[in-house]
Symmetry: C2
DNA sequence: ACACCATACCTTAAACCGTAAGGCTTCGTC
DNA sequence: GACGAAGCCTTACGGTTTAAGGTATGGTGT
């Protein structure tokens, strides 16, 4: 469904997760903290958002995961796939368009 | 509820409607078309989104409405209230923060 | 020894919001 | 007299996030 607008305005978490994973592999808990830190504390998505998102991404083969034991901790490391890279490009393009559209209206000087 | 993030990522329609009304009074159908036109066709919110939004804004006293007959057409004109003006300022500030946060992460060169 | 918090994974119920798809009426045009 | 545009409206549905839980291990302080 959803034929008019791109999947943003929601869907931001998916983009941010993919972006983080494009830089290096990360595990879920780390991603939750990273989003908080790297958005300058302006955005916080809880685990109840990020974990389901990761599971969805894996199901869609946009990422792969590998369980690893580190320092007595069991972690699920996620790695971006080629499909995931393409998806990230689409999403960032969508986001850019949405932002431009909103800016147009907000800054517009129409009657 | 909703304590962590501002009400954006959804809530964009509310901001755009308030912004349009801050420039001049408008009626619902006109607003639907205006959003499409003034965002450069990038955003389209249907009537099923905008009408309930207007009703909500009125209930919250962020706008007032007045029914008027124009050219044989019955239109509901909406006017921003003082409260609505303040709300618009809050929302645009939130939006700005969200955009900044996302930009930080997207452009960040972290490890 | 014990408490407690951080790390690390997970799930679920509820709320929220936008879409799609309809319905109604009047006006103008072909 | 049909049809689309202008104008108002509502409802069912689906997707997404939040809040709030649950589990287990490790480290720290007392």
């Amino acid at each position: 469904m959803r034929m008019t607008n791109p999947n943003f305005l929601n869907g931001v978490p998916e983009m941010l997760v993919l972006k983080l994973l494009s830089r290096r592999e990360m595990y879920g808990y780390e991603i939750v903290k990273a989003i908080q830190a790297e958005t300058g504390e302006t955005l916080t998505f809880g685990e109840g958002c990020i974990y389901p998102c990761l599971h969805y991404l894996e199901k869609e083969k946009l990422v792969t995961s590998e369980r690893r034991e580190v320092a007595g901790r069991s972690r699920n490391y996620y790695v971006l796939t080629v499909r995931g890279t393409k998806r990230l490009e689409e999403l960032t393009a969508d986001w850019s368009r949405v932002h431009s559209g909103i800016s147009l209206l907000l800054k517009g000087q129409h009657a």
